[in-house]
């Protein structure tokens, strides 16, 4: 009965309005599905730059043992932003599994282990594609701070081979 009433009501809507109703419903469902499913390709909630704030912005890069920068893309086949993305994925995964500690209170030895694992995946990848990273390679984190006087940066060694 309800179904018949609903269909009858829908049929009474002008064809142009039916079309927009259908498109609106489709867009609504796609948006809800994308937000609910999250980062599961082809869906995504597109979280990039979603929360600008005054905290330091971090980025990661590779150097040789003497600190000379290495071209991440040319040697590993993956762009430099993927260093950060992969590390964050693993750190977030650990934080989800340890909700009491969380990411901010993560023990330094856990972070060091995860950073080392990520560095190792890039080393393996560079070997597999025939453009190996040097035997001694370092993973650095740069933190960009903004202040009324301008920007300044700090650097921390995250992992080394």
């Amino acid at each position: 009965m309800t179904r018949v009433t609903l269909l009858t009501s829908l049929r009474r809507i002008k064809p142009d309005h039916q079309r927009y109703l259908g498109l609106a419903a489709f867009m609504g469902l796609t948006i809800i599905a994308s937000l609910w499913i999250g980062e599961h390709y082809p869906f995504s909630n597109f979280p990039m730059y979603g929360n600008p704030n005054p905290r330091a912005v971090d980025y990661y890069f590779l150097t040789d043992a003497s600190g000379g920068p290495l071209p991440t893309g040319k040697l590993t086949g993956d762009s430099a932003p993927k260093l950060k993305k992969r590390l964050n994925t693993s750190l977030n995964e650990w934080a989800r599994a340890n909700p009491k500690t969380g990411k901010s209170n993560m023990p330094p030895e856990v972070r060091a282990r995860i950073s080392q694992e990520i560095l190792d995946t890039f080393v393996r990848q560079s070997q597999q594609r025939g453009t190996p990273l040097p035997d001694r390679v370092q993973l650095w984190r740069g933190d960009i701070f903004s202040s009324p006087q301008g920007y300044y940066e700090n650097f921390t060694l995250e992992a080394a081979n």
């Binding site: 079309r19 796609t30 937000l35 600008p52 600190g67 740069g142 960009i144 650097f155």
Partner: protein
């Protein structure tokens, strides 16, 4: 094919090909161009081959263990160049059927599956890349549309009932509109996430994006050590050596510096992009809304490219095909006298297009803001592979023609939104 021949016999070539195109509908020839141009975008995106041999963090279909157990293999099989070559052959054959508009309920799922599979392998490494989602989602939406239409047509055939006009052969409105809708949904999803993650403070806090601009320039530099991203200056330690601080101090990009010093203007600039993303929903209204929003989105991506050195070429090209849709506008202008530009409009549009092209050629080698916005690689015609490597005698007339059509369309849209007043009646005439 049979229906095309029937329509040509009964209605003539022009009506059969152009007849269905209106402000809100896509006819047969427009449908062909939409499919041809989108097939080029899909082809370009399939050239990117991430041959990962592991699934470090499986996502999407890669995270369905039951499926792979049943198949007896997993997505890393795509890393085998021989198997991937076979997949590409299937994809190209299916794209051929897609372009001619035959067997879509089978051809589209083949392309969709292959496209989603290879990008899922890429995104299953613990690092999501967002440059291909729009193409995959557009393919997925089109698959749903052609399946739905196939079901409606089969039902009508079995019941021996006539097809409703919207499901008739040669009407490509659904494919066009639902692709526009799914593209709009991706932008609005991004707005929802911004609001959710920032606690509704995104616009207020948007000047802090300036710090991210510094980050993207640094990351681009470390990608292949291109000194362009550190303003041509090689990395140097600070005068007082300190391995922990300022070890790799590079110049701050001028854009980031300027935005940080002008937070109110930064809010206006980022706010405009935010609102444009939100109002992308309105593009489903008709082709006028789609063109205006499409040009806005292409400009938005161009601005992000300049500010952050982050480009989304496939998104721009997909928006270029379905939103800007120069081919659809040309067909509407030929078919409908009400949308045919006068000689005056065409002249003004051509001269403006020529001036834009001249300005581009004059600034092509300069690294300035003006040069960036005149860069024709942002042009909707750039979706043609290697267009800008074509001989000058071919590429510039092509660009001029496309620009002229689009500028004429913009003038016609303006005229349609502000109808001219009817002339005042002569004195003494009774209305």
């Amino acid at each position: 094919m049979t229906s095309l021949l029937n329509d040509i016999r009964t209605q003539g070539v022009k009506t059969a090909l152009l007849g269905g195109t209106t402000l809100r509908h896509a006819g047969r020839l427009e449908g062909f161009f939409l499919r041809l141009l989108f097939a080029i975008v899909v082809y370009i995106s399939l050239q990117s081959y991430p041959a990962y041999q592991t699934l470090l963090k499986p996502v999407g279909i890669a995270a369905w263990p039951g499926l792979w157990q049943w198949l007896g293999w997993d997505l890393t099989r795509l890393a085998d160049p021989v198997f991937w070559d076979l997949c590409l052959r299937w994809a190209y054959a299916a794209l051929g059927f897609y372009v001619i508009g035959f067997g879509l309920p089978v051809a589209l799922p083949v392309v969709t599956l292959i496209h989603i599979a290879i990008r899922t392998l890429n995104n299953s490494q613990g690092a999501a890349h967002h440059g291909f989602q729009m193409v995959s989602l557009a393919l997925l939406a089109q698959t749903l549309v052609v399946w739905f239409l196939a079901a409606v047509r089969t039902r009508a055939f079995l019941a021996k009932r006539p097809l409703p006009p919207w499901a008739a052969s040669g009407n490509w409105t659904w494919l066009w509109m639902y692709t526009i809708a799914v593209i709009a949904a991706t932008y609005v999803t991004s707005v929802c996430t911004k609001l959710e993650k920032s606690g509704g403070q995104w616009l207020l806090n948007s000047p802090y994006v300036a710090g991210q601009i510094v980050k993207t320039h640094r990351q681009n530099y470390y990608n292949d050590l291109d000194p362009r991203f550190i303003q041509g200056q090689p990395p140097a330690a600070s005068p007082v050596p300190d391995p922990a601080t300022d070890r790799y101090r590079h110049p701050i990009p001028v854009q980031a510096d300027w935005l940080a010093r002008h937070p109110a203007i930064a809010r206006v600039i980022f706010g405009a992009g935010f609102l444009l993303e939100l109002f992308t929903l309105l593009a489903v209204f008709d082709r006028r809304a789609a063109l205006l929003i499409g040009l806005g989105l292409v400009s938005l991506h161009g601005s992000i490219g300049w500010l952050m050195e982050l480009t989304f070429p496939l998104n721009e090209r997909t928006v270029g095909v379905f939103y800007v849709n120069a081919a659809g506008w040309l067909i509407l202008m030929i078919k409908d006298p009400a949308w045919r530009p006068s000689g005056k409009i065409l002249t003004v549009s051509f001269l403006t297009a020529a001036a834009l092209l001249g300005a581009h050629l004059a600034t092509a080698t300069a690294d300035t803001l003006a040069a960036h916005f005149l860069d024709l690689s942002q042009h909707p015609a750039s979706l043609i592979p290697d267009l800008f490597n074509w001989p000058a005698a071919l590429k510039w007339p092509w660009v001029l023609a496309t620009q002229t059509i689009l500028l004429s369309a913009l003038i016609l849209i303006g005229k349609s939104l502000w109808p001219q007043r009817s002339p005042a009646p002569p004195p003494g005439e009774v209305r």
